[in-house]
């Protein structure tokens, strides 16, 4: 404790601090930690007692609605890791930056974290737009980003570990299930108008037409923030598809489901499978407005396994009994744990060594169950189908086998 305090006080200027901390370490020598010179050869912000990481999400602006859960989950994981002794004998210190839902701000803040703060890893981003904005910075400065959101795929960088699902993992298993279980032949594809829904629907259409032998009777995109879905709902009533396959996001999401319910399109009359509703979104939509519809995700808060029970309990203890945990929140929670495992396997904080150690990392303690990092730095994971309950939770009705991540699916582009 004593030497930790000293280390913290003497952190600036860093070179002096390193020397002083090393001296005090010799005196205290209570740590079994390997010396800093060994685990940090590239000048990262690592001392004998501490390693600095960055957190880069939108705490303000329109994306704060989605990213708050990720911020909370990463904090929880880091606290738990620290309580269990940290990484290579070092406590994790977090520098949190706010991307403010603005993509250039994300790029600027990521440069600040990597260049000025010399963080060893960054947990952050949510939208694909923000990830695309920071990617060149991470590649140039050789940083390491843990990205939690399910996304459209078609990307792979050695500087990014993708802890959410890429499109094929989330979509194909869901469509297979609905085709088999609901004997669906006709599909109505629907999404907000930007890259993720469009790419997802492209993959979905290919799969429906070539693999499942079904028919797409409608494919439509609405501007982000669209609030009037009456015409669309009438079209769905007219075409009577077996399944509505939806990827509507943000405030539009709430409007869409409230208006569906008001127009009498409920689960008794219409099967609906969505890619974009987690427990977080259900708070705003209201479970009663969506009861009986299905979502295709890798994680639901109601998953019944001991890892998840412990995770949910810890999360609620920290953030209140009313807190809910969605798919991305859980994926964000995996980030610090995956990083810890990779650093320990590499025996170093150096980004290149951590990246080299990353493929093959396994987590048996993940709330979603077992996950494993693929060569392409995405996770092997299971896909589940959840049925919306009126209380805002999901009942898991189907679980796939472990699915291999395939960010560049052949024949789907």
């Amino acid at each position: 404790m004593d030497s930790q305090l000293k280390g913290a006080k003497l952190r600036f200027p860093r070179r002096l601090a390193l020397g002083a901390a090393a001296l005090s370490m010799l005196a205290a020598s209570a740590f079994a930690a390997p010396p800093t010179a060994e685990v940090n050869t590239t000048g990262l912000a690592v001392t004998d007692t501490e390693v600095v990481v960055g957190q880069l999400h939108s705490a303000t602006g329109t994306m704060a609605i989605s990213e708050t859960g990720s911020i909370q989950a990463e904090r929880l994981a880091i606290e738990q890791i620290n309580a269990a002794g940290g990484i290579l004998g070092r406590q994790i210190k977090v520098i949190q930056e706010d991307g403010a839902s603005d993509w250039p701000t994300f790029a600027e803040k990521s440069r600040k974290l990597l260049v000025n703060d010399k963080v060893a890893a960054v947990f952050g981003c949510w939208t694909s737009a923000s990830r695309k904005a920071v990617l060149p910075v991470f590649e140039r400065e050789n940083g390491l980003l843990y990205y939690p959101t399910f996304y459209e795929g078609l990307e792979q960088s050695k500087n990014v570990v993708y802890t959410g699902q890429e499109a094929t993992q989330q979509i194909l298993a869901g469509l297979d299930w609905v085709a088999k279980e609901k004997e669906a032949k006709t599909y109505y594809l629907l999404g907000s108008d930007y890259i993720w829904p469009r790419t997802s629907m492209k993959i979905a259409r290919k799969h429906i037409e070539t693999v499942l032998g079904g028919k797409v009777v409608g494919e439509e995109y609405y501007p982000l923030g669209h609030t009037q879905f009456g015409s669309l709902i009438n079209k769905v009533k007219l075409k009577k598809p077996d399944v509505v396959f939806a990827a509507v996001v943000g405030g539009s999401n709430v409007a869409f489901y409230k208006q569906l319910k008001a127009a009498g399109v409920t689960a008794e009359k219409q099967t609906l499978l969505t890619l974009s509703v987690t427990e977080d979104e259900l708070l705003g939509i209201g479970g009663e407005n969506m009861a009986g519809f299905y979502a295709s995700m890798k994680y639901f808060q109601s998953l019944d396994n001991p890892n998840n029970a412990a995770f949910v309990e810890a999360f609620k203890a920290k953030y209140g009994q009313d807190a809910v945990i969605g798919d991305v929140t859980q994926a964000a929670y995996l980030g610090p744990w995956l990083w810890k495992a990779a650093v320990e396997k590499a025996g170093s904080f150096d980004v290149d060594k951590v990246v080299a150690a990353t493929p093959g990392i396994e987590l048996t303690t993940a709330p979603e169950g077992y996950v494993k990092v693929h060569e392409n730095q995405h996770l092997w994971s299971k896909t589940r189908i959840g049925e919306v309950l009126p209380n805002g939770q999901f009942k898991v009705v189907y679980e796939s086998d472990l699915i291999e991540p395939n960010p560049f699916p052949k024949g789907y582009q």
Partner: protein, 305 residues
Amino acid sequence: MEWLSEFGAIAAMQGFNGLSVFCVLLLMALGLAIIFGQMGVINMAHGEFLTIGAYTTFIVAVLTERFAPAFGPYYFFLAIVMSFFIAGAIGWVVEWAMISRLYHRPLDTLLATWGLSLIMQQIFRSVFGAREVSANLPEWLMGSLQLTDTIEIPRNGLFVMGLTILLTATIFLMMYRSRWGLQVRATVQNRAMSRAVGINTKRVDRMTFALGCGVAGVAGAAFTTIGSTGPTSGSLYIVDTFLVVVFGGAASLLGTIASAFSIAQAQSIMEFFMSGSMAKVLTLLTVVGILMLRPQGLFSIKVRK
């Protein structure tokens, strides 16, 4: 034959949808028609006054559920009244603290109210959390009326429609049939002369702005039945709101109604035949085209001297 009856049913529901979009557009534009149309203040924070109404509804819903569950089915009426007064009161304060100092600088008002909207959004986020919330709607507002086997009319649409008619009529009476409305219009036309004949123009300004904000609050309350309640929910409506008011000709209440109707019908019909994004693009193109031919509507209102 069956096909024909089904087509009729869809046409009927589609017609109702057009009307219901019209009511939504009109409801959100009414407050701005007063503030922007009558006073010439470009209030970029208008959407946030909608949000105030939405959150007021949420709070009333939660409090009702906790303290007076028996009152549950009717809380919505109380929520609407509360939304009006809370949004109106905040509007009153904003006019006093900010707008009244900027009347001779309309472009600065634009920037200042935009800043205000960002501040208000962040306050909502800090107080209510970044996540969206949802008020439990009373049973009678949910679901649809089954007119025939195939024709279903959403109840929340009917409710919004009724509220819009009531509110429009009230505002019309206030503006064109009451002494206060006379004072407002006099102030707009000639401030110095109005003051000379004994009208307290400062008070008129303040009340007009507060009224516009209060009406926005009511719209926000009504929109909890069809949309989201989050820190940025109000900003979803702001572009369409300005579109309606500008397109209609800023100083005319009838113009606002006509403009809301035509935009709503165009949007609703085009959305039925093409994708939502394309429909929006075409609607905007049409509006721009018409405004080029008839520019009276486009920011040509009198600016206060």
